[in-house]
Amino acid sequence: MLLISCPWCGARDETEFSCGGEAHIARPADPNALSDAEWADYLFMRKNTRGPYLERWVHTAGCRRWFNVARDTVTNEITAVYKMGAKPPRARAKASRRKR
């Protein structure tokens, strides 16, 4: 079970959270300007990354706030937790590729 550090509440068990999938997928500003294929890409297509991955979580059974998590999908190591709207921490995401 993951131990996730909510930016507002601190470290809590995974069971208090829900995962919202891949982060940084913005809703298109004008959906009608998109082709069916582009819309389908926004709607259905998600990366299935092996390694460092940026995803959204929400502290469902806590403060109910959404935030971003950088997690290595192989080791499950969480290298960064950052608030909604913040830029992904590139350097830290890369660091997780290092062998511990």
Binding site: G20, P31, R56
Partner: protein, 996 residues
């Protein structure tokens, strides 16, 4: 009764505490400190079970969790537990156990015929034979399960209590042997919060069964001193009878503690978040694979001396030791010291020359170096073995066999580090080619393996390694090193020679002929089976496992793993690590469902939500249904009524007099802020800018895929304030949905959301007398239809209670939905019931509500919709704004949503007005003699409508609106009713009544 094989002194049993027990119906006696296995051996009982597939007689193999041969059914009735290894059951007075997997008895087993037929039952026999025709599989499976069953599960409710414990610690030590105790001491001395778990009742691990010395005294004295020191440390928790069974992400570790019957709870499940884990899980001895190596009386060498030293039991009278290593010589020496006659040591190695063989030689024990056991005599108990000399290559035997009488064969093929927890933590085992064993590779989590679990077998090295790891773990968890300089205990190290790994011991006949060479005793998998699977093309061990069932039994291959890999590798001409290493998954040993469930059973399995009027409903005879976690009255039962009668009565009252519904469970979200209307615009399909204060509007919510997700009425309470209602079951989901969009996509919107579902009680009055009844309770709300029109709200008082009254209707009748603070709900309800008596006021439940709304053709999300239905499919284009964007809008333009043959909502009227279609029934337009027939849709809702005097149904039918008036067929098991496609609004389609 005399214990024929019990020594008169020694051992860690208490002869002052005799315990009576029964096994297979016979009474025996053992002592406190015994396991069921040691007590049986003390009574000369070796034959304890029958094997899984061939039903061969089997005896006790081991003294630990790796036991493959002695799964027993412990106790009977509600406390019964199947497949417990007799080696792991602590003896208690009155214990009752029986062999599993034999019928009619362990002595005479009817299925033993399988052994004689075994030439006809090769690996994967069941797969090959019972493959086709598939429809027979059900009956095959039943017969196979009966023939190959492993114990029986309890059929009664479990009378015991189980608890779950949550804990954080600096250092968790898994295993209470010498390395684990040394680690716990070193960590504990820093002041670290330490938990040490030992699966057995007593700490000490292997030391309990050995005659080692530490610091010049019996090792067990060091164990006692260590335990005393640990017990005195306030931050150290000792958990005996506790197995670390699961190692999960981020050092989350699960433990199962057996507490016995004397305390309040039988077992406790510990969930521990650990900073640093020390794995001191020991090692499991490897059997040797030789002809008929499964006969009762063949036992692991380490287990044999454990029985002698720890339990003061001699597992036989005359023993042969069969080994590839020095360690088994300890067994020869210890058995001899216990008075067992040691016939000889048969050593696969040509010239054994370590300290231990020298000691055996000095004791006058005959050693046959470079020999092998080639045959075993005796079916239910070994009575002799044949031994032969190996040729120079070790691939074959020569010369004349020599027969040695014996009733005990102690075998050792070396030891395998117990890597299960390491593997579960994400680590990959590394193959130590020099010793042919798997050891822990790189750590993937904050853990460290020590002692035998790390491939370190000498006692002195185990203590040193444990000590260093414990200190390092405490430091890793942020504890300062202890100031005191502590010396590691002194142990005389014994020099041991290398092992000789012959994965299949050669004999007189080729493998697979005239004898069985068992690799997995639990699942009856032989060397020949693995060779066959290799010949049939199964190259990976994962495939071989599934094909032959190697390592798939409750023991999970604890003794069979390495031999299976080695035999497969040899067949393929590959190295052992190239055929794969097995990944171990939790649990290490079986965990009962009771322990996993803990107290979360019965009424505590899931929270129950009740409305403020719940107890009134109960007294009125309500039959409840679960809607989400809510209990809602489904209908109110009266004596002599059927459910149908009750629903008819309630439905008629709603249309002819007045009916009352507890609607408190509807989700309610208070939405406030200057951008509240904009939020509604984005999440609902229709426009909200023009909604005036004190007006209500129906809203439909879609997923971004365009599919209907929820619906409900939202009212504007003030300039910047709205009250949204959701369906009962979706309230939490809709709240989460709105929060997600606000926080992730639209943080610029100034809106706050508050769930107020439980703050309000909601009472709905419906029917022609609703207005007159309510009028008697309010003076400050004008109920006149013109002053208070449909789809509006008023705030005032009802029965003296502050209230919000909404004119909305789900029944199609003139309705008033009265919301009062939850604490007043029951008072309002009883007041209305009392005054309504003269109108024949009738409480109605969800079933009548469903019928009434279906008469109107109103949908229920989740009944008419299933996540694949768009508003257009439902004929609700009127609710879709053309002018603005909303969630899901773009998806409605996708080609798939534009298809002409999509299923559309229609009404169905059966030709026979009394025939009520089952919900979910498939609809066909063209009836054929037999399936397949093209299905054009399905029934979503179906009821008998008392108001219409006939059956009605709603359905989703391909291109349904164009089929109005067509007759369709609904093929059922016993009949094929015909129905006409109609408009879904069956009752008052103009809506005159709800505006009235």
């Amino acid at each position: 009764m005399a214990q024929s094989h019990r020594l008169s002194d020694g051992g860690r049993i208490d002869r002052e505490q005799p315990l009576g027990f029964t096994f297979n119906g016979k009474s025996y006696q053992g002592y406190a400190g015994d396991t069921l296995a040691s007590a049986l051996l003390a009574n000369g009982v070796m034959l304890v079970g029958r094997s899984f597939k061939y039903h061969r007689p089997r005896g006790i193999l081991s003294a630990g969790v790796e036991e493959t041969n002695a799964p027993v059914q412990l106790e009977t009735g509600p406390r019964t537990e199947p497949n417990l290894p007799a080696t792991e059951i602590e003896l208690y007075d009155g214990l009752s156990a029986a062999s599993v997997n034999c019928w009619p008895s362990v002595e005479i087993d009817a299925m033993e015929v399988n052994d004689l037929l075994s030439r006809l039952m090769p690996a994967a026999f069941y797969y090959k034979t019972f493959m086709w025709p598939a429809r027979f599989w059900m009956s095959y499976e039943k017969a196979i399960r009966q023939a190959a069953g492993l114990g029986t599960t309890p059929v009664h409710r479990d009378p015991d209590r189980y608890d779950k414990m949550h804990l954080h610690c600096d250092v968790l030590v898994a295993g209470g042997g010498p390395a684990g105790l040394a680690a716990a001491l070193a960590a504990g001395r820093t002041g670290a919060r330490v938990v040490i778990a030992e699966q057995q009742a007593e700490f000490g691990g292997a030391l309990l069964g050995e005659r080692d010395e530490i610091d010049g005294a019996p090792a067990i004295e060091w164990v006692a001193a260590a335990l005393a020191e640990l017990a005195a440390m306030p931050e150290v928790r000792l958990l005996p009878r506790t197995t670390v069974f699961g190692y999960y992400d981020h050092n989350f570790v699960a433990l199962l503690e057996h507490r016995g019957d004397t305390v309040g709870t039988r077992k406790r499940l510990w969930k521990v978040r650990v900073k640093q884990t020390v794995l001191a899980t020991g090692a499991i001895e490897r059997p040797l694979v030789f002809a008929d190596n499964d006969r009762p009386g063949i036992m692991l060498a380490g287990a044999a001396r454990t029985y002698a030293n720890r339990f003061a039991v001699t597992p036989g009278r005359r023993a042969v030791i069969f080994t590839n290593n020095d360690d088994a010589y300890r067994t020869a020496l210890d058995l001899k010291a216990a008075g067992v006659e040691v016939a000889c040591v048969v050593d696969l190695r040509g010239d054994p020359d370590g300290d231990l063989p020298d000691r055996a030689d000095a004791q006058g024990i005959e050693v046959l170096g470079g020999w092998a056991v080639t045959a075993v005599h005796g079916r239910k108990r070994v009575n002799a073995v044949e031994v032969m000399a190996l040729d120079a290559s070790g691939e074959a035997v020569d010369g004349e066999p020599r027969r040695i009488d014996c009733d005990l064969v102690c075998v050792s093929g070396g030891w395998n580090p117990t890597l299960h927890l390491f593997s579960q933590s994400g680590g990959r085992a590394r193959f130590d080619a020099a010793r042919s064993l798997f050891v822990p590779g790189d750590s993937m989590q904050a853990e460290c393996s020590v002692g035998a679990a790390n491939g370190t077998f000498g006692l002195a090295s185990c203590l040193t390694e444990g000590h260093e790891a414990g200190a390092a773990a405490a430091a890793g968890a942020g504890r300062r090193r202890s100031q005191k300089r502590i010396s590691v205990p002194r142990v005389a190290e014994t020099v041991e020679g290398a092992w000789r790994n012959l994965w299949v011991v050669p004999g007189k006949h080729p493998v697979g002929r005239r004898a069985k060479h068992f690799v997995d005793l639990h699942n009856d998998v032989t060397a020949a089976d693995i060779q066959l699977s290799a010949r049939e093309g199964y190259e990976s061990v994962e495939h071989t496992k599934r094909y032959t069932t190697l390592g798939m039994g409750p023991d999970q291959g604890k003794t069979s793993n390495i031999a299976g890999l080695a035999i497969l590798a040899r067949e393929r001409g590959a190295d052992i690590p190239d055929v794969g290493t097995t990944t171990f998954r939790p649990p290490y040993t079986p965990v009962t469902f009771g322990a996993l469930a803990g107290r979360d059973i019965g009424p505590l399995a899931d929270p129950v939500r009740r409305t403020p009027m719940h107890h009134w409903h109960e007294r009125a005879g309500a039959v409840f249904e679960d809607v989400g976690q809510w209990k809602r009255p489904r209908y109110y039962h009266r004596p002599s009524e059927t459910m149908g009668d009750a629903v008819d009565r309630e439905c008629l009252a709603a249309r002819n007099s007045v009916a009352i519904l507890d609607a408190s469970t509807l989700g309610k979200i208070d939405i406030q802020g200057p951008d509240a209307a904009e939020l509604l615009n984005r999440v609902y399909t229709n426009a909200w800018d023009a909604l005036a204060v004190d007006r209500c509007r129906y809203g439909l919510m879609l997923g971004e895929d365009g599919m209907v997700m929820d619906d409900g009425v939202t009212a504007r309470l003030g300039e910047n304030r709205y009250l949204m209602t959701t369906t009962t079951g979706n309230a939490a989901r809709v709240m989460g949905w709105l929060e997600e969009w606000l926080q992730t996509e639209w943080p610029e919107l100034k809106v706050h959301l508050t769930s107020v579902t439980e703050q309000w009680a909601t009472v709905t009055l419906s029917g022609p007398h609703a207005r007159r009844l309510l009028g008697a309770f309010t003076t400050d709300i004008d109920l006149d239809a013109k002053a208070f029109p449909f789809m509006s709200l008023r705030q005032g008082t009802v029965a003296g209670i502050p209230a919000r009254v909404f004119r909305i209707s789900f029944t199609g009748e003139s309705s008033f939905e009265i919301n009062v603070p939850a604490g007043y709900g029951l008072a309002l309800w009883t007041a209305l019931m009392g005054a309504g008596e003269k109108y024949g006021i009738t409480p109605y439940g969800t079933e009548a509500m469903h019928v009434l709304r279906a008469e109107k053709g109103f949908i229920i999300v989740g009944q008419e919709t299933d996540g694949t239905v768009t508003p257009v499919d439902l004929g609700m284009d009127w609710v879709l704004s053309k002018k603005k964007d909303f969630i899901g809008k773009r998806s409605l333009d996708r080609a798939d949503c534009q298809r002409l043959d999509r299923k559309q909502l229609v009404g169905l009227l059966t030709e026979d007005p009394n025939s009520v279609l089952p919900e979910g029934a498939q609809i066909v337009s063209e009836l054929r003699d037999k399936p397949p027939m093209p299905m054009i849709g399905h029934v979503t809702s179906s009821y008998f409508s008392a108001n219409l005097g006939r059956s009605i149904a709603l359905a989703l039918v391909k291109d349904g609106r164009a089929r109005q008036g067509q007759t369709v067929h609904v093929p059922l098991d016993d009949r094929t009713p015909r129905a006409v496609i109609a408009d879904p609004a069956f009752y008052d389609p103009e809506g005159d009544r709800l505006h009235g």
